[in-house]
């Protein structure tokens, strides 16, 4: 009898099928890897197993018994532990408290207060047994990101699990941390615990797991012993063949060189990056979470200091000490939904737009609100920024409109190098279309765009060239025509670039 069995699971979200007829079997003591592209439905499976979502169709069996979880608590009671993709920690509590949160051992007598001694003793014993070098008494916020993730995994591992589900937990870890976690999981598997590991990295498949299930567009593309499938075969199964047809990219003739990056380094996140951006060009940047693509974008935009290498703008070498240096040189950086990042939520739209160059709206010491309104009006009309009322603050805008306001303020500042980090994430498809067309217009005006996206279709559709990052390095450059999904995936996942 299998530990966990999913049969013909279906789930829809907002009328769109996310999962269709998914079958998955996990034995006790098995290391099962779930792999698939962004949006293939991996996280949805994790959430269904963990009781966070309930399937629309199909059955979930645990130890042969049909179960329907109404809440994560029910799943937990049956020994299912999920380590979610998003971090969930209490930064000001200690490591031990974070591990036992919600299930603290209590003293047997009244009142049932937390038995701290037992808590720490359990930690010490467990840490020694599995060779984990962590101080249980340390506050969480003093740990690095990798160690924090480790604590989250320990939270699952130390509370008598039967099944551990890990949703892309390894993405942001360093190699030693990853090996430590794999060692821990193997020890648990030897005791009969089942592990479902969701990953994006081919490297993980070389070190861990004995069974793999490939998910593509909400369906199981293949499932079998890891030894029976080669890595290129797996990538081939993941890739969608459909060519991106309706992305409105209007190619311009690339103009003069705007930005040159030579041998840029920021160990251990970035190493030896070389790139050239011309005006009129959209340079795509592909890479998985933790590949260093955001770190590269931030380094170029002057947000993070670099420790080695050179940045040249307009043929002159520059040193970016802070973001305002970069802004002065015509650079701008745009993140996914700029809630709190990039906007003053309590100010209205004109104020947010003109803030990048106050001199143009200042009369001596005072701001001229009439001129501010006049200047901003042009951008609001042109970009179609929808305002609920004329004096709306940016907090009242939708995500898409907020993103347009951020673009407007950089246009107002006459930026020429646009670094867009997942600018369309979470936007509806119609707003995305607006965004694509605005990117076109930027390049028609002679700007250069560095475009980062996890959506490979979008990246292929809108980029003229695509650079691929893996492990802090550039591992490939593909022209638009040769950038098939399979090739991109292979490079981004750390496979052989053939």
């Amino acid at each position: 009898m299998s530990l966990l069995e999913l049969s013909r699971i279906g789930k829809s979200s907002a009328g769109r099928p996310v999962l269709q007829e998914v079958d998955l079997v996990l034995e006790a003591g098995q290391g099962h890897i779930l792999i698939g592209e962004n949006g293939a439905g991996k996280s949805t499976i994790c959430r269904i197993i963990g009781g966070d979502l309930c399937q629309d169709q199909g059955e979930l069996r645990l130890d042969g018994k049909v179960r329907r979880f109404a809440s994560p608590r029910e799943a937990r009671a049956l020994g299912i532990r999920v380590v979610p993709e998003e971090q969930a920690i209490f930064p000001h509590l200690s490591v031990a408290e974070n591990i036992f949160i919600g299930e603290e051992p209590s003293h047997p007598w009244f009142p049932p207060i937390v038995d701290r001694e037992r808590m720490f003793a359990t930690c010490y014993r467990f840490f020694r047994e599995y060779g984990i070098r962590l101080d249980p008494d340390l506050p969480m916020h003093l740990l690095g990101l990798g160690e924090q993730r480790l604590v989250e995994i320990l939270r699952a591992a130390m509370t008598d699990p039967r099944l551990i589900v890990m949703d892309e937990v390894t993405a942001s870890l360093s190699e030693p941390e990853r090996q430590m976690i794999f060692g821990l999981l193997r020890a648990l598997m030897a005791k009969g615990v089942g592990v479902l590991l969701v990953t994006h990295r081919l490297e993980d498949l070389r070190h861990f797991g004995d069974w793999v299930t490939v998910l593509k567009e909400g369906r199981v593309a293949a499932s079998g012993p890891l030894a029976a499938l080669s890595l290129p075969e797996i990538v081939k199964l993941m890739a969608r063949e459909r060519a991106p047809a309706c992305y409105p990219r209007l190619r311009c003739k690339p103009g003069r060189v705007l930005l040159v990056v030579k041998n840029l380094s920021r160990p251990p996140i970035l190493e030896g990056i070389d790139l050239v951006l011309r005006s009129g060009e959209v340079l795509g940047l592909a890479g998985l979470l933790g590949s260093g693509r955001t770190a590269l974008a931030r380094a170029i935009a002057g947000i993070d200091r670099i420790s080695g290498g050179e940045i040249w703008i307009d043929g002159r070498r520059v040193t970016l000490k802070n973001p305002s240096d970069a802004v002065r040189l015509g650079m701008c950086y745009l993140t996914e939904d700029p809630r709190g990042k990039g906007l003053f939520l309590s100010l209205n739209v004109p104020a947010n737009i003109t803030i990048t160059d106050m001199d143009r709206v200042r009369d001596g010491f005072f701001l001229n609100f009439y001129r501010e309104e006049l200047l901003a009006r042009g951008y609001i009309d042109e970009l179609g920024i929808g305002l609920p009322n004329p004096h709306a603050t940016t907090a009242q805008l939708s995500g898409g409109n907020r993103q347009k306001v951020v673009l407007a303020k950089w246009l107002y500042r006459s930026a020429r190098i646009f670094v867009l980090d997942e600018p369309t994430k979470g936007l509806d498809i119609e707003t995305k279309l607006d965004f694509y067309n605005i990117i076109n217009e930027l390049t028609r005006c002679g700007a250069g765009v560095i475009f980062i996206s996890s959506d490979l279709q979008e990246l292929r559709g809108m980029s003229d060239r695509i650079l691929v990052m893996y492990g802090g390095r550039l591992v490939g450059e593909l022209a638009k025509e040769e950038a098939t999904e399979e090739r991109l995936l292979m490079l981004a996942m750390g496979g052989d670039p053939t």
């Binding site: 047809a245 992305y247 143009r360 951008y379 042109e382 970009l383 607006d434 067309n437 005006c445 700007a447």
Partner: protein, 260 residues
């Protein structure tokens, strides 16, 4: 930004606010005050405004030249500019009739090694002085009240020709009935043109959407590329997205100095 664009925008501001100041405008456009003064001089000569100390007011009897101030005209120019960027060197294109196509022709006048086939006499006139554009006008008879040619002569003269891109500006687009033009003769010609090419481009300004015309030419999903502005109605946008139509929306992100 070109002077002409700046003049248009000054006109718009003046129409809205009735009065402007030189310092104000120079900061808005990022140009010197003397440049603005020169602009105001020009507009004063046109009788559009009256200069005052440090600024100008709208002349009471100002006759607004409809061409320059019309937001529709600006919109059509935007569409035409974007469409012009789609035309590569050495291509052969077809331009249908209508004001947007006429503006597109104006944008293409400076091109080299370009062949334009058209059934619109205004377009032919517009391109008459373009030195390196090869213009071919179809035969046929004039459609009453327009400068467009249609009929068997027009059909005859495009027989055997092949185009890289035909640019069409239908007068009506309806979710149910598709694109349409006012006369059967024109529809016949457009259908003949679209039959011999894949990459058809429809140029759509705001007047087109939701309007019916007599003669249907193609379904909305049949023309693979459309160029319009952000005034594209919501339901049309949803339709195009659902049917994999490439939608280009033209923007004018006035970046002083950055525009070619």
């Amino acid at each position: 930004m070109f002077t002409i664009e700046r003049l248009q925008r000054i006109r718009r501001i003046l129409l809205e606010k009735k009065r402007v100041e030189v310092t104000e405008l120079s900061q808005v456009f990022g140009v010197s005050e003397s440049t603005i003064r020169r602009d105001l001089d020009k507009l004063e000569k046109e009788g559009f405004l009256r200069k005052t100390y440090g600024g100008a007011v709208l002349a009471e009897d100002s006759v607004v030249a409809p061409e320059d101030n019309d937001p529709l005209t600006m919109e059509r120019t935007k569409i035409a500019r974007l469409a012009a960027d789609m035309v590569g060197e050495g291509e052969a294109i077809f331009l249908g009739g209508g004001p947007v196509c006429l503006r597109l022709a104006a944008c293409l006048a400076g091109r080299q090694r370009l062949t334009v086939v058209t059934n619109d006499l205004e377009i032919a006139v517009e391109l008459a002085e373009a030195p390196y554009v090869n213009v071919k006008v179809t035969g046929g008879e004039l459609i009453p009240g327009t400068f467009s040619l249609a009929g068997s002569g027009a059909l005859e003269s495009i027989r055997g020709l092949c185009f890289n891109k035909p640019f069409l500006a239908p007068t009506g687009a309806d979710l149910k009935f598709g694109y349409a033009v006012p006369t059967l003769g024109e529809a016949q010609l457009i259908r003949a043109v679209t039959a011999v090419t894949q990459e058809i481009v429809a140029l759509l300004d705001r007047t087109v959407f939701g309007r019916l015309a007599l003669a249907p030419v193609a379904g909305l999903a049949e023309i693979p590329t459309v160029v319009t502005t952000n005034l594209l109605p919501h339901d049309f946008k949803a339709f195009y997205l659902a049917h994999q139509v490439k939608v280009f929306t033209a923007y004018e992100l006035a970046q002083p100095g950055a525009r070619r």
